[in-house]
Symmetry: C2
Subunit: 93 residues, 2 copies
């Protein structure tokens, strides 16, 4: 069974999320799922790329999923937003 952990990427600086993912993976978690919605999707791709190019070079890109989610705003009106999920994994040491 693979352990899985999720990193939700929002509007903070990209290195905050990079650090979170690197910390998880160096702590022994073999698979991390990087998730984001809307404009943060670009940042989620940055996070995955920076982690595997600069910090954990033996991390492998797994499947990348995209989908549409429905969001209710404060007035109860629903809008659609795109979402992404990027899997990064590495073999146990």
């Amino acid at each position: 069974m693979t352990e899985e952990n999720v990193a939700y990427v929002g509007n903070k600086p990209v290195m905050n999320y990079v650090l979170a993912v690197v910390t998880q993976m160096n702590g022994g978690i073999s698979e991390v799922s990087i998730k984001a919605r809307g404009r943060a999707i670009s940042r989620a791709v940055d996070v995955a790329e920076i982690v595997r190019n600069r910090f954990i070079t033996d991390a492998e890109l797994g499947t990348i999923n995209i989908r549409t989610e429905e969001i209710l705003n404060n007035e109860g009106i629903s809008t659609n937003v795109s979402a992404i999920e990027i899997h990064l994994s590495r073999e146990s040491i």
Copy 2:
């Protein structure tokens, strides 16, 4: 052999790119590759989701690739930018 065409997503309104992809696919092209870099990545995901949810409901998501590209700016200094490529296809009619 599959025909392939490429839609580059930039900073124009999302429906411009949706229309381009829908036109290509309705013109008989069975596979379209949606590409974007940097902040336009989020928009590329929107394009793929809008095309397959609203316009071409039998279109299928293929592989999604992400990578890092090196860009030279006007002063010759290179910076890294993330890029995405989303494949949409549908069987020939």
